[in-house]
Amino acid sequence: SFTNHMNKLARLARPNLVRMPMAAFSTNVWEHITMPAPDPIFGMNARFKADKDPNKFSLVIGAYRTNEGKPYVFPIVKKVEEQMLKEGLDKEYLNMQGDDLFTAGSKKLIFGETEHADRIATHQALSGTGGLRVAATFFAQNLPKSTPIYISDPTWPNHFRVFTDAGMENQVKYPYYDTKTNSLNFSGMMDSLKKAPDKAIVLFHACAHNPTGIDPTPEQWDEVVKLVKEKQFLPFIDSAYQGYATGDLDKDAYSVRLFLKEGLQFVVAQSYAKNCGMYGERVGALHFVCSDKDTRDKVFAQVNLCIRGAYSNPPIHGARIMARILNDEKNFNQWKKELKEVADRILAMRSSLRDSLVEINTPGNWDHIVNQIGMFSYSGLSPEQCDILINKWHIYLMRSGRMSISGINTNNVKRLAEAIKDAVTTAPKIQLTTYTDRTIITDLLQKKKK
């Protein structure tokens, strides 16, 4: 009678649906699934959101914030969007390679005016992540399975995920961050790469290394190029901050253009998430610099196939906005101006934090905050010191010491300095190993298990 009753209700609610007895599931397809380890960045962000302290602020997420702590829409983006609305554009599918005006403009933006454009295969990509994944899929399908990919230690944690999921299992870390000096461990990096097998893939950050903010100097890049040629490495460059790091689009493309000038064959994943605030629109490009046009054509067609089975064609909206910015001189100049203002605010906050720390006689040397570049700073704070900032001062950052500088503004910089001083005097840094967010989470989990 219960079944009859439920059936009556069902008939009333959905008269067209067949009257079948209320069925229980006989199976549980997902029975064996386990909860994964929590993501450190989103975990910390969630803690920040849950915190009710009125003075809290966050240095966690790598997204630009204004001096008022708000998200920022570039005025040029708003202007272009309004114009687009008036044009009454259709919403038809793009090809697999994306919007042609966009890809041409992107190629020019990263490589500069170049006579080699016809041997560079360019595809629109789902921001940086999408570009990385498509490239990794291509590598996995077209290079020997044993080909290792060398990745800086530390790096953006999601790099590992993307490469693993694409089938690139052979991942090797090369030293990068010198925890004693908060700068680049260049000799360690070069020693490691010298020992790598020939034709390995090496992942580089074009500028504004995530998470350390530490980039090689031009002289160091020259040495890298020399080694790449010697070992026939395949450089894979992640360019997420062109223009955002120094405020100068050409300066921030230095490493990419050097590689091109030096006649290397390499791959670039390019993102507009930060430098044009296109975060959620998912706009980026993927470039394969090949030895000649015929190879470029073959590579181009094969990359198409990598895209076909993943999402077929990319979203139009963000690419249209960028195409109109990249290909119109007036728009482009306005963008450059606004981008410089954004980058300048970050640079100003770096100076301001360092100066504030020195002003109140905080122990230690804080020059690295000004010497590092881009969205993040590896502050050098230990996990215990970070905990003091988080728990006592309600200032949130990653327990690796990674701070997102855009969370700093004229209203909170002094308080941040006080908090840091408090942290370093209360819990002096003891351990000297490199902290990455991944190792900290694993440590935590292991401690919990015990």
Binding site: A13, R14, N16, L17, V18, M20, A23, F25, T27, N28, V29, W30, H32, I33, M35, P36, D39, F42, A63, Y72, K78, E81, E82, L85, G88, K91, E92, L126, S127, T129, R133, N142, L143, R161, V162, T164, Q232, L234, K261, G263, Q265, G277, M278, G280, E281, C290, S291, D292, T295, K298, A301, N304, L305, A310, Y311, S312, P314, P315, I316, G318
Partner: protein, 430 residues
């Protein structure tokens, strides 16, 4: 050396070729048949040419169509001065919730035990759904993935790229009747090993245009339950196929409410004309809340390895329309108009084919549902049609929206001519 001093450019090329191209071993990719046909169409200079290939809606004037309600939604959104920040990795809660309800029904009992993620349109949904299945189903390496014979060719690409190598066809299209080979379909699904995965088109089957009836869906349900199969629905035409959002979701709702743990890819490409905005989702209906919450806890990692957070623009348009009653109503009306034009085009073409005495039966043109129709024309006949500037998709698949009141007579005459010239029908049923 001296040469490179005189010709400095040679220096640069010399370095580039100093080692052989890394990609020397990359094979020439085979061209996509659809694009080849399209290229021939574009090169065709005849003013009578008709393109019946790509599955995108066209107006009576043969133009792309943006739903007026979509334009309205975009104008409203512009006034809200929204930012472009990342959406949550799985998509915005409102978009997920409204889409789930649209597909399963406002009061569906499965809503609270369904994992829903925004994806890069329906194709992204198919890929992400396949990733869930491949990664989390035990024995997925060997599992049979049943797909209709024929099906949209890209299904193969997506499933294989996700790792499923064991793709098996179940009979679907009967070339003699130009309808459903229902017994074959049932037997195909029944004879697969227990707990196989079965891909079903919710409505508007691509490429045939042949859909099971509601009664036939009930029988398929019985077979699926008997074999404890996992069902993967591709719902790309909800509302577009018959004009009714409820009718086109019937099989998904039927299966979900009758104990099948199904996966469903949902697309707004056709029914909201959002093609290039890539608005879509994947839904995974689970046995209970505990199962769905465990599955959901893995979503972030899965998505972040493929494309990261989803694109916001199309999803915002959908949300605006679904959450605003007047806009939702306007959408339903416009959707009905669109699907009625398709049905009208089918009617006209069939009537004309019969009126001019085209050999053979043509009622299937009108009976087929949705974007496409398998005309029954052979490869030779389709090739001949191209010479008459009428372009069909592979297998004689016709995209009906390319037919309108200006060209249906021309198309009918062209079909009659090629059928008479090449009378032997050898149906390509790939």
């Amino acid at each position: 050396n001296m040469l490179t001093r005189i010709f400095p450019k040679m220096q640069r090329f010399a370095s580039a070729r100093a080692f052989a191209s890394i990609w020397a071993g990359v094979p020439q990719g085979s061209p996509d048949p659809i694009f080849s046909i399209r290229d021939r169409y574009l090169a065709d200079k005849s003013k009578d040419k008709v393109f019946l290939v790509v599955g995108a809606y066209r107006t009576e004037e043969g133009k792309p169509y943006v739903f007026p309600v979509v334009r309205k939604a975009e104008e409203l959104l512009m006034k809200e001065n929204l930012d472009h920040e990342y959406a949550p990795i799985i998509g915005s809660p409102k978009f997920l919730d409204l889409s789930k309800k649209l597909l399963f029904g406002e009061k569906s009992p499965v809503l609270d035990r369904t994992v829903t993620n925004q994806t890069i349109s329906g194709l992204g949904g198919l890929r992400l759904g396949s990733e869930y299945l491949f990664k989390f189903l035990p024995g997925s390496n060997e599992k049979q993935f049943l797909i209709s014979g024929p099906t949209w060719p890209i299904h193969h690409t997506i499933l294989e790229d996700a790792g499923f190598k064991n793709l098996i066809n179940y009979p679907y299209y009967n070339p003699k009747t130009k309808g459903l080979d229902f017994e074959g379909m049932k037997n195909g699904i029944k004879s697969a090993p227990k707990s196989s995965i079965v891909l079903l088109h919710a409505s508007g089957h691509n490429p045939t245009g042949v859909d099971p009836s509601q009664k036939q869906w009930e029988e398929i349900l019985e077979v699926v339950k008997e074999k404890e199969h996992i069902v993967f629905f591709d719902s790309a035409y909800q509302g577009y196929a018959t004009g009714s959002l409820e009718k086109d979701a019937y099989p998904v709702r039927l299966f979900a409410e009758n104990g099948v743990e199904l996966v469903c890819a949902q697309s707004y490409s056709k029914n909201l004309g959002l093609y290039g905005e890539r608005a879509g989702l994947i839904h995974l209906v689970c046995k209970d809340k505990e199962a769905s919450s465990k599955l959901a806890s893995n979503s972030d990692f899965l998505i972040r390895g493929i494309w990261g957070p989803p694109p916001i623009h199309g999803a915002r348009i959908v949300t605006k329309i679904l959450e605003t009653p007047e806009l939702k109503k306007q959408w339903k009306d416009e959707l009905m108009t669109v699907s009625e034009r398709i049905m009208e085009a089918r009617k006209k073409l069939r009537a004309e084919l019969e009126a001019i005495g085209t050999p053979g039966k043509w009622d299937h043109i009108e009976n087929h549902i949705g974007m496409f129709s398998f005309t029954g024309l052979s490869e030779a006949q389709c090739k001949a049609l191209e010479e008459k500037h009428v372009y069909m998709g592979p297998g004689g698949r016709m995209s009906v929206s390319g037919i309108n009141s200006f060209n249906y007579k021309y198309v009918a005459q062209a079909i009659k001519d090629v059928v008479e010239k090449y009378p032997q029908e050898r149906q390509i049923n790939k």
